[in-house]
């Protein structure tokens, strides 16, 4: 089966108009020594019913979180999503539309981008947002690249990363910076958090290591709550970054900003992160949606699309893509970024999600997360052999516990015996901590699920 509508008669009529004897003759513009005459090594075509059976079979060999308790977060979280999000986003006018380069044919998408930008700025306490980025990890990368451009005059040499950033964000930053020839200075955590005085020390150590040549730091990137769930002292860290002459980039779970202070009000120069959990499923890691917000003074160094309001010739309000001279299709090699495609449909889901929860609902959702997570933590901390890994730190919806046996074993037993998907095994990123276990407890985890988890943990020794 394929989706071609031309019949044999159509093809004949069209070839007659073209004046070509056959389709193959049209393809003869491909030199013979480049032509491929073999059969493509792909499986035979399936009819729609066969295809759906095959897809069901593949899907059934995944053990997803549908209809099952899951406490796995580690950067991608499950949250309540109103039915209306699916219904609205399934409108073909949204999901089959192209990038809104023609504003008269795209006011729907453009207006929702404008709304998204507004909502993200209101959550983060910033002044400008772009239309979205690939994901949370590349959002951190893009924020740092933006800082490097903004600091161009002082020829920056390094960026500083808190080790509380998501490990994938750290990995992506290292790849990009390595490719561009910038240095990466990593700052260790103490008790699960980034000590503000550690930034200066790490830079001093880097200076000593390079025989007194001080690195010129463009930006410090941190995450709050960090990968281990710990709420960082964002204000102190932003101040410390500024003392180094660097910009402060804060990666934040936007849902945590229901309860936590906006990073923009604590000194952040840029706020970025993974917005996927607002109305989107984890989707095995993609497609998700990253976001990036900044101050208006930096707008010309922002990567990717930005929508702005204007008027038409009759004074009617309209939204267009703006500041396009930053972008690759205009500026080519001098563009602020190579990004063209955004994650528009995921951002649209997040936009409608935020609209439906609304001002009060969003705050309530945050408090539900805070309460459920703290209930779970208080129950697990009193199971013999279990403790909170960072008892002095505060958290929002995710926290680390240390158990009596390796987390990998806990996860295996939970799934096999209790049909529960456990937390993140910290040993996967830090082999020295095999018994640390990162638990995400959200509004999707009922009290009953939490109680079942606690009962199950009591049996694992």
């Amino acid at each position: 089966m394929n989706y071609v509508q031309n019949t044999e008669a159509d093809r004949k009529a069209m070839l007659a108009t073209i004046g070509a004897p056959s389709v193959d003759a049209l393809l003869s513009t491909i030199p013979e020594d480049c032509r491929f005459h073999g059969a493509l090594d792909v499986e035979r075509a399936l009819t729609e019913d066969e295809l759906l059976r095959e897809m069901r079979s593949l899907a059934s060999r995944n053990t997803g979180a549908d209809g099952r308790a899951s406490f796995l977060g580690a950067g991608l979280y499950r949250h309540f999503c109103p039915a209306l999000v699916d219904s609205l986003v399934s409108r073909t006018e949204y999901w089959t539309a192209y990038t809104p380069y023609q504003p008269e044919a795209s006011q729907g998408t453009l207006t929702t981008i404008f709304e998204w930008q507004t909502m993200m700025c209101r959550l983060t306490g910033m002044e400008v947002s772009n239309a979205s980025l690939y994901d949370g990890a590349t959002a951190v990368v893009e924020a740092l690249l933006m800082a490097l451009r903004l600091k161009d005059a002082s020829t920056p040499t390094h960026v500083v990363l808190s080790k509380g950033l998501h490990p994938d964000a750290i990995g992506a930053v290292k790849t990009y910076m390595g490719s561009l020839g910038y240095g990466v200075i990593e700052v260790d955590l103490a008790e699960g958090a980034t000590p503000a005085d550690a930034l200066g020390k790490a830079v001093a150590a880097a200076t000593a290591a390079s025989k007194g040549v001080a690195p010129v730091v463009a930006a410090v990137a941190l995450q709050s709550p960090n990968f281990f769930g710990v709420v960082e002292d964002v204000r102190a860290l932003c101040d410390a970054a500024h003392k180094l002459g660097a910009m402060a980039v804060v990666s934040a779970d936007p849902i945590a900003l229901s309860v936590l202070e906006a990073p923009g009000d604590q000194g952040a120069d840029m706020v970025c992160g993974e917005a996927t959990p607002m109305g989107n499923k984890p989707w095995f890691g993609g497609p998700g949606v990253g976001y990036l917000c900044a101050k208006m003074e930096s707008v010309r160094q922002m990567p990717a699309r930005i929508a702005g309001e204007t008027v038409d010739g009759k004074g009617r309000r309209a939204v267009v893509l703006t500041f396009q001279t930053r972008e690759q299709h205009i500026r080519r090699a001098k563009a602020t970024s190579n990004i063209c495609t955004s994650q528009q449909l995921m951002a649209l889901r997040a936009t409608i999600w935020m609209s439906l929860l609304g001002k009060d609902g969003f705050t309530e959702l945050g408090r539900t997360n805070l309460a459920r997570a703290h209930y779970a933590a208080s129950r697990i901390a009193v199971i013999p052999g279990w403790k909170l890994t960072y008892p002095k730190q505060s958290f929002f919806k995710e926290f680390s516990v240390t158990g009596p046996v390796p987390a990998a074993r806990v996860n295996r037993e939970l799934l096999r015996k209790h049909d529960i998907i456990g937390g993140f095994d910290v040993g996967r990123v830090d082999p020295a901590r095999p018994n640390d276990w990162l638990l995400a407890v959200t509004d999707m985890n009922t009290k009953d699920e939490i109680d079942r988890l606690v009962l199950a943990l009591e049996t694992i020794r």
Partner: protein, 554 residues
């Protein structure tokens, strides 16, 4: 009601439909015949005022909320989120440091469910989309987005799968990744594939990083220059900059091929040449006939050849880039493999590479091993992720790829099979040439020779100084999305038309009729074109004002 129910307004871009379930309305143009401007005019009433022929306003425009914020009323509630449900309440001030507690709630909208539904439904009606309009956007491959793909993606087991789950819990998804890789290997003729890149430009960047590392490890540290034809997509040079390369522009010949003499001159002694980025078929819609000579010359200089796969739809199954000297390329799964464009994303830009470059691909990778019974007979496979590879460039994103896009691409490839994929290229080329043949007596076809999947017209010299922009905007009035305009840069007043294989002859005929009608309008009533579009809720917006008086949030 679907657009099918509206025979008098066949191309109505504003007709409401019921979302995915009404997807059958795709290609809803009524067969044949020249269009009349009033078709589009009648269709454009949404959000605008409908005027009578005598100029009397029949339905004066009474504004609706422009954004969701203007529809907000303090204290109004939408959906109730999950509550505490038996868990004790926690005061944020008790568990968080005082200065970390949010003091003022973010001013998110305050709107009821019904009004939110109406707001976002109305906004959707202001969009053109594949489901309600022909979209001949050159270089973008706006083909039909099959609904079976959406059904597959909605199956339980895909969307709720978490990337941090262990391999044994993700066997279905890992197998799907593995098989998509195999099929892209088959189509590209290159032996290794990475599904990581989130989009075409991300594929370019990932590939350039792979090239950089390969060159560094193989005595090519000083190779810093990537050659790029002046007809290339803007992402090509932009990706080079982000990957730390310098670019050197190659002149195209009149026919859009690379000028070999210029290539020779720009390569020079070849010492600094890291490689070439080339789009084939070119952005002029022509196969680069001297591609072998070009790739041979770059290889001779110790450079690598990158192919921008944006135009893969024209050649799937008919030629394989690996067979004409390409070392690395990207695919756009949102072009060639029917992932819907989503109003600007998501996409996916997997890359395929040669054997030499394979070890440098990003991690994690998917692999499999055979499962055998006691007699040694293969009973199946176990799929697993490989997180470390000594030569890998490392990570370029979070997790390991846009799995939702892979599910749709898999479904699409499996629906087509080997013969179906060849029919894609054949009919894409046939449809583009049909448009060329129907228009070339009136319109200026930039290279009036057999083209591949797209045909490039030039509006330069149109009657009364009409420009490509005017033509594009006038097409909107006829319910047709404008082609790509002013690209490629080497064609003055370019109109780049890519019909794709999924359009019917009747849709192409109507498009050609409209284009011929617009030409006549340019002769007889140019003002009509200069002030188009006339049928939408807005006319041409003031883009200069959007920059000079920036308003990027409500």
């Amino acid at each position: 009601m679907t657009t099918m129910d509206l025979p008098k307004h066949p191309a109505s871009p504003d007709s409401p439909n019921n979302g995915a379930h009404a997807g059958g309305a795709a290609g809803a143009h009524v067969p044949g015949g020249a269009a009349h401007a009033q078709d589009g005019a009648a269709a454009g009433a949404a959000g605008g005022a409908a005027g009578s022929p005598a100029g009397r306003v029949l339905a004066p425009e009474i504004p609706r909320p422009f954004t969701v914020f203007e529809a907000s009323v303090p204290g109004r509630r939408g959906v109730r989120p999950p509550g505490l449900q038996g868990v004790p309440a926690v005061d944020p001030a008790k568990v968080l440091p005082a200065h970390s507690v949010r003091k003022t709630a973010a001013a998110l909208p305050e709107i009821g469910e019904l009004d939110a539904m109406r707001h976002y439904t109305r906004l959707s009606s202001l969009n053109f989309s594949i489901a309600n309009a022909f979209y001949p956007l050159g270089s973008c491959t706006m083909k039909y987005n099959p609904l079976i793909n959406e059904s597959a993606a909605a199956l339980p087991g895909f969307g709720d799968l978490h990337p941090m789950q262990t391999d044994d819990q993700c066997q279905g998804m890992l197998e799907l990744f593995w098989r998509v890789e195999r099929w892209l290997i088959a189509v590209s003729g290159l032996p290794f594939v990475s599904l990581h890149p989130a989009a075409g430009a991300h594929g370019e960047l990932t590939a350039l990083m792979v090239m950089r590392k390969y060159l560094d490890r193989n005595g090519g540290r000083k190779k810093k220059v990537i050659l790029i034809p002046d007809s290339a997509h803007g992402t090509n040079p932009a990706s080079c900059t982000i990957a730390g390369f310098d670019t050197r522009e190659l002149k195209s010949t009149e026919g859009g091929a690379v000028d070999l003499a210029d290539l020779e001159a720009k390569i020079g002694n070849g010492k600094d040449i890291a490689g070439l980025m080339i789009t084939n078929p070119s952005t002029l819609g022509l196969f680069v006939k001297n591609i072998r000579a070009i790739t041979d010359r770059v290889h001779k200089a110790g450079g690598l050849v990158y192919m921008d796969g944006a135009n893969m739809n024209a050649i799937v199954g008919r030629t394989r880039p690996g067979d004409f000297g390409v070392d690395v390329m990207h695919f756009n799964l949102h072009k060639t493999f029917s992932q819907p464009h989503g109003g600007g994303g998501p996409g996916a830009g997997p890359i395929a590479v040669s054997a030499a470059l394979g070890p440098y691909l990003p991690v994690p990778k998917v692999d499999r091993k055979e499962l055998k019974d006691k007699s040694g007979k293969v009973t199946g496979h176990r799929y697993f992720t490989v997180n470390k590879a000594s030569k890998s460039i490392g990570r370029t994103r979070g997790f390991m790829g846009n799995a939702g896009v892979m599910v749709r691409a898999y479904t699409y490839m499996r629906a087509n099979g080997p013969e179906g994929l060849k029919a894609v290229a054949d009919n894409a080329v046939l449809n583009a040439n049909y448009i060329r043949a129907r228009l070339h007596k009136t319109w200026r076809v930039w290279n009036d020779e057999t083209c591949m999947h797209e045909v490039v017209l030039s509006a330069k010299g149109m009657p009364n100084g009409i420009r490509a922009l005017d033509v594009a905007k006038r097409l909107i009035d006829y319910g047709i999305h404008p082609p790509t305009i002013y690209f490629p840069l080497i064609v003055p007043e370019a109109l780049m038309i890519e019909p794709t294989e999924t359009e019917s002859k009747e849709t192409l005929d109507r498009f050609c009729d409209v284009m011929l009608a617009i030409w006549r309008e340019a002769e007889t009533d140019p003002e009509l074109l200069r002030t188009a579009p006339h049928t939408r809720n807005i006319g041409r917006p003031d883009e200069v004002r959007a920059v000079k008086v920036p308003k990027v949030i409500a």
